[in-house]
Amino acid sequence: MTTSTALYDIPGPLARRRHRLYGVLATIVILAVVAWVLYLLFDTGQFTAAKWTPFAYEGIQEMLLRGLGNTLKAFAYAAVLSLALGGVLACGRLSVHRPLRWAATIVVEFFRAMPVLVMIFFVFVALKVQPLPALVTGLTLYNGSVLAEVFRTGVNSVERGQREAAYSLGMHKTQVMTYVLVPQALRAMLPTIISQLVVALKDTSLGFLITYEEFLHAGKLIAGNLDYDLPFIPVVMIISPVYIGMCMLLSWFANWVAKRQRHSPKTEAVEVAPPEPGTLMPGAGPHP
């Protein structure tokens, strides 16, 4: 243990020996579970050649890559549009005009409380839109609303003195926003914004449910193929590392940015929040 917690003292020699014993026991149990899973995989014939041959064919590789490309395309559209929507809604919520503020608040709170899938299905089924625009619309509405909250908290968390100093220099409110508050807030909020984009990337897989031809959809097509002895588990074994890898890369980037920002003089006036998945509580909570 390098970090100390309130839970226990730094262990002495006896405790260390005991911990080592627990460690060995736990390792044995974990390895036993892993071995059991591997045994199950072999026992049900998941590593037979028939199930893995399809991945050697160029056509199937191309199909998977096309699916991955579609996933990334949906993500790119959703990311750009939700950042834009978030900006607009945040402007609305920070506005000095009361009706505008109320309207933006209602929109933000409603879309944050709705499951993304309900919005996607609504656009897809009720408005009869193609899968890609439906998916992008749903993701944009949800992530845009969450990002609006992120932007707003960011602007509000800039030290009060900054705003006061700007006003006392004779700047008007747009100048205060664009020259003083937003640049500092954006830098400080960058980690949170990136981790919200991870949520958007993960949610592109919802496109699978509305028959958008994305990565998971391509996998489903291969998995359902009788010629290759229904290679379901191999497909999962290939798809999940790619998905998890992409998301981990982006999360790691968010952490890296957060670590950099914490030591940066440019964000001194704002407290840099650690990157968190965007699941703030709707309604009155600790994050108003």
């Binding site: 100390s4 917690t5 309130a6 839970l7 226990y8 003292d9 262990p11 405790a15 911990h19 627990y22 460690g23 736990a26 390792t27 974990i30 199950l40 049900t44 998941q46 409380a113 709705m114 499951p115 993304v116 899938l117 309900v118 299905f121 609504f122 089924v125 009720a126 991870v198 990337l201 993960k202 949610d203 592109t204 897989s205 919802l206 699978f208 449910l209 998971l216 996998g219 489903k220 998995a223 379901f232 588990i233 999962v236 798809i239 999940s240 998905y243 998890i244 998301c247 981990m248 999360s251 998945p277 699941t279 703030l280 509580m281 709707p282 309604g283 009155a284 909570g285 600790p286 994050h287």
Partner: protein, 214 residues
């Protein structure tokens, strides 16, 4: 309005399905999250590593992929359970990673001095944990756990697309019966609002009752 009154039973069944998924999923997530959090703060290296892997992998897995793997993958191993149970399993495991992180952050907010003081009074490990550390951690984890459980309730909609009875799935039947799709979706939205706002209300009450006075 007709859509709701004519199909009250259908909507009721769907709402009940969502509530069931949410409640059982939350219980599983809280239990698993607690176990994983205790692994992650344990002084035993291999348990810490296991907890870290669990959290990192599940936090970065799209829930649809997890549903896909659990619903269609586990039967390949001869594990055949009702779809609802599979859905609860997927939701619970996914959410447990977020609960674990919230709990761990809560435990880390307790100052080291609290534990040291407890031990210097001669309290045992169990007493330190149960009487000093956990009550303080509990106060600061109420809001994050609340938002995680709200996210779980919203995520339960995915189960509907995998043919589990719940609120979102009702649109299909209504569509076949020829009701206005827009209105059926409006009532589905209202159903979800009821669920998420009640969780939010419960946690606001808890926060008011037990939260840290700042």
């Amino acid at each position: 309005m007709n859509v709701l009154i004519d199909n009250l039973a259908l909507y009721g069944e769907g709402l009940l399905g969502t509530v069931e998924l949410t409640v059982y999923g939350s219980l599983l997530a809280l239990a698993l999250g607690f176990v994983m959090a205790s692994f992650r703060v344990a002084p035993v290296g291999s348990l810490r590593a296991f907890g870290t892997v669990w959290v990192t992998v599940l936090r970065n897995t799209p829930l649809t992929l997890l549903f896909f793997a659990v619903m269609l993958g586990l039967p390949r191993f001869g594990i055949v359970l009702p779809f609802q149970l599979f859905a609860i399993l997927a939701l619970g495991c996914y959410t447990s990673a977020f609960i674990c992180e919230a709990l761990r952050a809560g435990i880390n907010t307790v100052p080291t001095g609290q534990g040291e003081a407890a031990r210097s009074l001669g309290m045992t490990f169990v007493q330190t944990l149960g009487d000093v550390v956990l009550p303080q951690a509990f106060r600061s984890v109420i809001p994050p756990i609340g938002s995680t459980l709200i996210a779980l309730a919203k995520n339960s909609a995915i189960a509907g697309a995998f043919s589990v009875t719940e609120l979102l799935g009702t649109y299909k039947t209504l569509n076949e019966l020829g009701y206005s799709i827009i209105w059926s979706f409006i009532w589905i939205a209202v159903g979800y609002l009821i669920v998420t706002l009640s969780i939010s209300a419960i946690f606001n009450l808890l926060e008011k009752r037990y939260g840290v006075a700042r």
